[in-house]
């Protein structure tokens, strides 16, 4: 798996019981590989927005978009790879340390603090989140969950 085979796609889909399995099914059987997936409601009722990071394997890069577009449940696919985007990922972590200054300096928000330690959240782009996770290790991280990115094209 190499970075230059990764596509970042923003996909508008119809809500429905079959949608997610059909999207993931296409990715699997075309030999692609999902690195991250986030799903949330779109402003329009009945539609959801997926953000996908997909390794396109041996296929042409554009095949991921084309194969997803063949699905009737998929309304629109935007390939954001290499575009100027806002890419934001959420991290929630539980740490043992009581001194949280290093995390708070990076912009973490304290969600909970108690005898067993503290829970913080952080949002940032991929690089910032990576640095934040490294910083967590210095604070005795007990548990960490990451959302995978949501991506939006920057407007001029």
């Amino acid at each position: 798996m190499s970075d230059n085979r990764v596509r970042v796609l923003s996909v508008l889909v119809e809500d429905g019981p079959n949608t997610l399995s059909k999207v993931s099914g296409v990715i699997r059987r075309r030999g692609f590989h999902v690195l991250s997936i986030t799903v949330g409601p779109s402003p329009e009722p009945g539609y959801s927005r997926l953000t996908l990071q997909v390794d396109h394997g041996h296929a042409e890069a554009d095949q991921v978009r084309k194969q997803l577009e063949r699905l009737v449940e998929v309304v629109e696919v935007e390939d954001l790879t290499g575009h100027d985007v806002h890419s934001r990922e959420l991290v929630v972590a539980h740490v043992a340390a009581s001194d949280l200054s290093g995390l708070l300096e990076k912009g973490a928000k304290l969600l909970y603090s108690g005898e067993s330690g503290a829970t913080v959240e952080f949002a940032g782009d991929g690089g910032e989140v990576g640095e934040f996770v490294d910083e967590l290790k210095r604070h005795g991280v007990k548990d960490v969950v990451r959302s995978g990115p949501v991506v939006m094209r920057r407007t001029a």
């Binding site: 079959n18 059909k22 554009d62 084309k66 577009e69 063949r70 699905l71 009737v72 449940e73």
Partner: protein
């Protein structure tokens, strides 16, 4: 409500099998005498019949099956239709909506099991969805690149009552089936083709689905460009036309492969350019400077071969957009066409016929002399399929039906039955090997029950011939699990099912047996005991390039 909706879509014929989860539909069926239902003997047979029906007449084939095993028995048939872009509607019963997910009796995840072999699918859990879903399903199955659509209907929905009014306008925001050729690209394609020194056009199933045979011919004649077809494109261009290259691909004709491998411009119309067409991809058409690809499905562009000029469009529309930009070029192509003629002389189709055995090609040549282009040939999969493809000179679409992409053994008999229902005025010949034939032979009952004029030409070589040939030629000569000497006596088998049959061992018996088949009303079977060593030629060794085709040995 299901049946009324089908009537509204113009359905006349259904192939199906009842069971627990579709009983409510079957209960109402006698109240709909306009819907003729054919009771099959296995659901796979129903799917292939619907497929053969659709291929023969262009209308979508309709299949009923119950939940669980009934629906899962359709999977091979759905895949066969999906791979070859055949419009089909499969309506399966599902357990009650309140039982879904509880591992109820005969429950299976049919949507999950069929998603990869359907163009689209629906699980209907509420009666209010049903009118829209059925209307949408027919639209999706038959438009753009056609394909099978499955509707899985919970049993309680089948029993429910509601207003049965489909929406006046379909709104499917994620479905954009009709690409229109970019006119600049069409002009660029025409200029590239006209300017080529050594042009070749290859035509696939998309040309037939789009009814673009006349446009293809006009384009070829104006551009003086030779035309080959894929296995599924047979009928898109007359085989006896002077510009015909006959069939392409790894079992295509020698002169076709020579032309493809030496072309400087290769235009591919309505085809997927799969591995059976390209053989070794890295060596496919190596001298081509400009690949032109026309297909209605944009995802085919660059999936296997990256075109320099792409037209995502219906074949007819794209060809029509190109034709006005083509000057008449017949005279200036002399050298290239003469070269192709020389290759045709040098690499003719030929076969062994001096070893005392009955040769399959002799059978097919006799059939062709009788039928010319006034019959439908439905082939199974294997050697029989390639012989039937190469040794007939099909000049029109819809005369040669076979499972190309999926290569489904057992396709021929049920598909021939479906084709006969679709085109009762045409003789239908089913060409099969004995291996594939026994996979769906139970459908003989359907042919007998409805006294269908389907003539079964069994090319019986007592083995899985294509696999045997591959083992002999490409797998060290180790014959492993291909021996089929223990098979039923096919004449007695036919008798048990109630149709007449004869056995043929000698060349001289071909004519009388064919006479008997043609004289007989209703189904007829001929068990041709052919040369057990007969092979398909030309053939490209697995993994090799199209340049490396083998020809029939001189004997």
């Amino acid at each position: 409500m299901v049946l009324e909706a089908l009537e509204r879509e113009g359905v006349e014929l259904i192939f199906g099998y009842p069971g627990g989860a579709n009983l409510p539909i079957y209960q109402r069926l006698p109240g709909h005498p306009k819907l003729k239902h054919i009771l099959v003997r296995h659901e796979q047979g129903a799917a292939h019949m619907a497929d053969g029906y659709a291929r023969a007449c262009g209308r979508p084939g309709v299949v009923f099956a119950t939940s669980g095993p009934g629906a899962l028995n359709l999977v091979t048939g759905l895949c066969t239709a999906y791979m070859d872009s055949v419009p089909m509607i499969a309506i399966t019963g599902q357990v009650n909506s309140t039982q879904v997910g509880r591992d109820a009796f005969q429950e299976s995840d049919v949507i999950g099991a069929t998603s990869s072999v359907t163009k689209h699918s629906y699980l209907v859990t509420n009666i209010k969805q049903l009118p829209r879903v059925i209307h949408e399903a027919f639209h999706i199955a038959t438009t753009g690149r056609p394909g099978p659509v499955l509707i899985d209907i919970c049993k309680d929905v089948q029993q429910a009552e509601a207003d049965n009014v489909p929406p006046e306008r379909l709104e499917i925001p994620g479905y954009k089936p009709n690409g229109h050729a970019d006119l600049d690209q069409a002009k660029a394609a025409a200029i590239a083709l006209a300017g080529a020194e050594r042009p070749v056009v290859l035509a696939g199933h998309g040309v037939l689905l789009s009814h673009a045979e006349a446009e293809l011919r006009e384009l070829a004649e104006r551009a003086a460009a030779p035309v080959g077809t894929t296995l599924l494109g047979i009928g898109a261009f007359p085989v006896n036309h002077p510009l015909s290259l006959h069939m392409t691909g790894f079992m295509g004709t020698g002169w076709n492969l020579k032309a493809v491998q030496n072309a400087d411009v290769l235009m591919m119309v309505g085809m997927r350019v799969d591995d059976r067409v390209t053989a070794k991809l890295a060596d496919f058409a190596p001298k081509v400077k400009t690949f032109i690809h026309i297909d209605i499905d944009g995802s085919e562009m660059g999936k296997n071969v990256r075109p320099q000029i792409e037209l995502v469009a219906d074949a007819k529309q794209a060809l029509n957009a190109m034709i006005p930009h083509l000057p008449e070029l017949e005279k200036s192509r002399g050298t290239w066409l003469a070269q192709i003629d020389a290759w045709r002389e040098e690499h003719p189709l030929r076969y062994t016929h001096s070893n005392g055995h009955l040769q399959p090609q002799d059978v097919l040549i006799d059939m062709y002399k009788r039928c010319r282009n006034e019959a439908i040939v439905v082939a199974d999969v294997g050697q029989n399929q390639i012989w039937a493809a190469l040794w007939w000179n099909y000049d029109r679409p819809g005369l040669f039906l076979n499972s190309g992409g999926s290569g489904t053994m057992g396709f021929a008999l049920p598909a021939a039955i479906g084709a006969k229902f679709a085109r009762p005025e045409l003789p239908v010949w089913c060409v099969a090997g004995e291996g594939g034939f026994v996979m769906t032979a139970q459908e003989l009952s359907v042919a007998v029950e409805h006294q269908l004029d389907v003539k079964i030409v069994l090319l019986n070589n007592f083995s899985l011939g294509m696999v045997r040939q591959f083992q002999d030629d490409f797998y060290g000569g180790v014959r492993s699990q291909v021996d089929l000497t223990h098979m039923p006596d096919f004449v007695k088998l036919a008798d048990a099912y109630g149709l007449p049959a004869v056995r043929v061992d000698k060349f001289s018996e071909i004519g009388p047996a064919m006479d008997a088949a043609e004289r007989t009303k209703g189904p007829f079977l001929i068990d041709f005991r052919i040369d057990p060593e007969a092979n398909v030629y030309p053939i490209v060794p697995l993994g090799k390039s199209l340049n490396d085709f083998w020809e029939a040995p001189d004997k």
